[in-house]
């Protein structure tokens, strides 16, 4: 997705650069727009584009999509990580003129400077590499392979080690800072993504965006409150020395410290997934909170950012001014920056030793301003003197410059890119915005973090409390996977995301038809991430080959024919691994209104635990070792343990 290129979405949904926007580029763009409208209509009308057809994407606009910003140590330069155009734009931090644009790898997600500012490290989340940029020449001098979906990077103060948080492999890799050679990987939280060094450089704090797997089965089985952590790493020894527990937290993003190291804060979601999601008006499905920790507050404390009618949907970036007077948090769903008076926050915490996280009036004690910025604000950077705050507005290609004295946006830096908002872009903007929901509480992206999933189960439908508990599914690679909803009762995305959702989630005005069409376009455009379990060239390992044979077999180990409906490949057929029909595979519970469930697609199935319609299988193994006693979910009880392992190795390649 280089600048000036367009994409072709293939039948399997992979995205590749197709051609540069040259002399005929605009005609392609027009064609794409036409195709977009057509596909939008197709989606709206419930028809689908069949697998195997090569087709142009619904649109091909190359937006910059600034995700993170960073100031050089001398404050002269502003580095902007542009995720969609896959480049780093270097701006003069005073005049905001572009100094240089540097192409990096696929879908960059995080970046940081070396302590001396001489090198800029960029994690490229889709090609699993790290770009090393010489900030003198402003060019990429090295590209190092790293772990699966690298999402942020930090160098230690000594310049000896690089730490890279890998979202898919759930770890923090330790690299030699000179050579890029990986030394080891440290177990982090699920979806490890963001990191910050303590001001003294001795500890590294890492967060993660999906809750950790439930460790112990409870009486509620699949209905476990999420547990997250802040992974604390001793930098010198490069070992995990602590895991700060974050109870009932799922979705933890940036972490920041005060200059004196006495106060830390993380931005996070606090979902309420163990109660029926029926009353947004009673505090909603989520609280948007911070956990603050450090000597200033004693034990870690969760504090709310929400206020009645003014929710802080999807808190993401956080920064603390060097004089510790202010803390700034981006609320990416509410399109605002929250300004916190740190002294008042600390006083409030000390004055209320009991938890006040559910108190929607509490934030008035320390939130002193909510500044409207651009669409989907994410990363932020504060100048050394604390007078200007830069905010990356991912979905309108701007950088808001906030005068912190007046708490107002004084400049909006427009990044080069398409001026027109394409239907697809509009769909994405809608997907990430909480404006439409009741009191602005949630957006689609609240549960589908970065357009994926959230790793949790919910009691969603207005079908009775405790009925039809459902696992939240990955929304990549959706084309040719209809119908939707676990019961398969929604024939297409517009139905899934249309009036039903609006009535249930939003409790307010519905999207108009064009907006719904654009959201549908956006969701249908989401390709699957590259599988990390496939070998180069897509050949299979021996174990994967054996697993494939089991997946496709029609005779069991005792030479008995396996009935058509009891073969893996019957229900999970085709490129996506779904027949697009519902079946009873014996997994229905007493709490379910039906035992017949939609066949989920298998795209990137390895990433999406828990499994089954209600998330009761914590791992792929449990689908068969626990929940298939009568072979209704495929003939598997004749398999040995190693054969089941082979089957799972194959499934992980899908």
């Amino acid at each position: 997705m280089r600048s000036g290129s367009i994409q072709t979405v293939h039948a399997r949904g992979s995205v590749r650069p197709a051609r540069k926007l040259g002399a005929c580029g605009w005609s392609w763009t027009v064609l794409s727009m036409v195709a977009g409208v057509c596909l939008g209509w197709a989606a709206w009308s419930g028809s689908s584009v069949h697998a195997g057809e090569e087709k142009p994407s619904v649109e091909s606009m190359d937006y910059a999509s600034p995700l993170e910003v960073l100031l050089s140590p001398d404050g002269a330069r502003l580095y902007v990580l542009c995720q969609q155009s896959e480049e780093i734009r270097v701006l003069d931090a005073t005049k905001y003129a572009v100094i240089k644009t540097i192409a990096v790898g696929r879908v960059p997600r995080g970046f940081s400077l070396s302590p001396d500012g001489a090198r800029l490290f960029v994690t490229n989340s889709w090609d699993d590499t790290l770009s090393v940029i010489d900030t003198n020449s402003l060019s990429v001098v090295d590209t190092w392979p790293v772990g699966a979906e690298p999402s942020s990077v930090v160098e230690d103060r000594a310049g000896k080690k690089l730490f890279v948080a890998n979202r898919i492999s759930n770890d923090v890799a330790v690299l030699d800072a000179e050579t890029g050679a990986e030394q080891k990987r440290l177990l982090a939280g699920r979806g490890a993504s963001y990191m910050a060094l303590s001001p003294d450089g001795t500890k590294l704090y890492a967060t993660h965006v999906y809750p950790n797997p439930s460790r112990v089965r409870t009486g509620l089985e699949n209905r476990t409150a999420p547990e997250s952590e802040i992974t604390v790493i001793d930098v010198a020894r490069a070992v995990v020395v602590d895991r700060m527990a974050l109870h009932q937290i799922a979705g933890v993003f940036h972490v920041a410290f005060s200059a004196d190291g006495r106060l830390g804060a993380v931005a996070q979601y606090h979902p309420k997934n163990t109660v029926p999601l029926a009353h947004l008006e009673h505090g909603g499905a989520f609280e948007d909170t911070l956990t603050v920790f450090g000597a200033d507050v004693g034990k870690p404390v969760e504090v709310p950012l929400d206020e009645l009618e003014r929710y802080a949907s999807q808190p993401f970036g956080v920064v603390i001014s060097s004089d510790k007077s202010r803390m700034y948090v981006t609320s990416s769903g509410s399109e605002s920056v929250i300004v916190i008076d740190v002294a008042r926050l600390v006083r409030t915490i000390h004055a209320h030793p009991a938890s006040f996280v559910q108190d929607l009036s509490a934030s008035a004690n320390y939130v002193v301003a909510r500044i409207g910025v651009g669409l989907n604000p994410r990363g932020l950077a504060l100048t050394g003197d604390g007078r200007r705050l830069f905010v990356a507005n991912r979905l309108d290609d701007t950088i808001s410059v906030i005068d912190t004295a007046g708490n107002r946006v004084v400049t909006s830096i427009k990044l080069d890119g398409p001026k027109r908002i394409s239907p697809l872009r509009h769909g994405e903007q809608t997907f990430y915005s909480a404006r439409q929901s009741f009191q602005g509480q949630i957006a689609c992206a609240t549960c589908h973090i970065d357009s994926t999933f959230d790793g949790m189960t919910w009691d969603l439908e207005p079908d009775g409390f405790g009925r039809d508990i459902v696992d939240n599914r990955l929304i990549e690679d959706l084309i040719d996977t209809d119908p939707f909803k676990w019961t398969g009762t929604n024939p297409n995305i517009p139905t899934e995301c249309g009036p039903r959702t609006e009535k249930y989630f939003w409790r307010s005005e519905q999207w108009d038809n064009l907006t719904l069409t654009d959201v549908t376009l956006y969701m249908r455009s989401l390709p699957p991430r590259p599988s990390r379990w496939k070998l180069r060239g897509y050949e299979l390992t021996a174990a994967q080959e054996r697993g494939k044979a089991i997946f496709e077999r029609n005779v069991d180990k005792f030479h008995n024919p396996i009935g058509e409906f009891n073969r893996c490949i019957y229900c999970h057929n085709g490129l996506k691994g779904t027949r697009q029909q519902s079946f009873d595979v014996g997994t229905g519970k007493e709490t379910d209104n039906t035992g017949v469930f939609d066949t989920p697609q298998l795209s990137n199935i390895a990433l999406t635990a828990p499994y089954l319609h209600d998330g009761s299988a914590r791992t792929l193994e449990e689908i068969w070792t626990v929940f298939n006693p009568k072979d209704q979910h495929g003939r598997t009880n004749d398999l040995t343990k190693d054969e089941l392992n082979d089957l799972i190795e194959y499934l992980r390649t899908r």
Binding site: K184, V216, W533, K641, N645
Partner: protein, 363 residues
């Protein structure tokens, strides 16, 4: 002819000198073997249970796998992890340290647990690719965790998450009751109950097997002919030397020659050995049902409570087979010894009735 008097005197002196020398040799002190003062831990001073199946030294920390949880001793205080913390089962049978990351792996009666920065993740035969929930042995090498279970061996690749199972279908393991595993960058060895020793070559990916040449007979036809017995309980591969323990004696293999140890021809206090742990190519510790034994390549030392009167004793057996008692005032907590690990010059000993810290005593 009469001998000159000076010659008689010379001969007398020489004879006296020889006699003195001989006397000195005859009364020579026992070989200098390490001496310890044992401090014992039981439920009375912090252990969750006196049955200690495994012990692991982790820098200044000490981990003890007990029948009722995983205990860690740090800063003179015990803390116990239980199933409530996510431990797979209360009975912890084996322990291994990932030297690179500091993570501890615990094999239990109902799964394998990973303890990392205080967080415990457990793998079972139901929720993962683990071959069996009874985990007798665990060993970490590079990116791989090797596991010995009641249904064969398995390997978890920490990089890919892939489980590979080793059993009668893909190795020469004709019994699948794997008791112990020792993994190194070059070779991985499994001690298998009733199936000898299995060797995995990391480079070629091939398996080899070492059996008792006398089969399952409880006899030894020829000394040092091969592995001492098929029922192998423990294996330790150090400095290219293989140490193997069985319930019927122990073995050392240097890649060419076997050397076996039995009570009748060595300083072993019992042929029933629960664990062997090599220090290097020459030295090893043997945990038996009748005390703890140390072999320095020539001499043996045994640390235990006297089988006669229960008093602490240390005996040293020299190369010639002479056994000398060394006066001591402490002994390991119990003679049924299950495991050992090293902390500098000190040793930690897991026994059936407590954990012992052997504090090295220097002359």
């Amino acid at each position: 002819m009469k001998k000159p008097i000076c010659a008689e005197l010379r001969n007398a002196l020489l004879a006296g000198l020889l006699a003195l020398l001989a006397g000195t040799v005859g009364m020579a002190a026992a070989p200098q073997m390490p001496r310890y003062r044992f401090e014992n831990f039981t439920t009375a001073n912090g252990l969750p249970n006196d049955h200690v199946y495994a012990v692991l030294v982790d820098g200044s920390r000490l981990w003890a796998g007990t029948e009722d949880g995983l205990a860690v001793y740090e800063n003179h205080a015990w803390k116990t992890y239980t199933t409530r913390d996510g431990l797979a089962h209360r009975a912890v049978l084996s322990l291994a340290l990932d030297q690179r990351t500091g993570d501890v792996w615990a094999g239990t009666m109902a799964g394998l647990s990973r303890i990392s920065g205080g967080r415990i993740d457990s793998f079972t035969q139901l929720n993962s690719g683990l071959s069996n929930d009874v985990v007798y042995g665990v060993s970490v090498e590079g990116e791989n965790v090797w596991v010995a279970t009641a249904a064969g061996g398995c390997r978890l690749n920490l990089r890919t998450g892939q489980w590979s199972l080793y059993n009668e279908r893909n190795t020469p393991m004709n019994e699948i009751w794997a008791y112990s595993v020792s993994a190194t960058p070059t070779k991985v060895y499994y001690a298998v109950w009733g199936s000898g020793l299995l060797e995995y070559d990391q480079k070629t990916g091939r398996w080899d097997k070492y059996d008792d040449p006398d089969g399952e007979n409880e006899i030894v036809l020829f000394k040092d002919q091969g592995l001492i017995h098929e029922i192998v309980t423990s294996v330790s591969y150090v400095d290219n030397i293989l140490w193997a323990a069985t319930y019927f004696g122990d073995s050392r293999y240097d890649g060419r020659y076997w050397h076996n140890f039995l009570t009748k021809d060595s300083g072993l206090p019992s042929n029933f050995t629960n664990q062997v742990k090599g220090v290097d190519a020459k030295r090893a510790w043997f945990c038996t049902d009748k005390g703890l034994a140390y072999y320095d390549g020539v001499n043996w030392a045994v640390y235990r409570s006297s089988l006669q009167d229960g008093r602490p004793e240390m005996t040293v057996r020299d190369e010639a087979g002479k056994v000398t008692a060394v006066p001591v005032s402490t002994a390991p907590a119990h003679n049924y010894v299950l495991g050992i690990d090293f902390q500098g010059d000190d040793i930690w000993v897991a026994t059936a009735k407590g954990l012992s810290h052997g504090i090295r005593q220097h002359p």
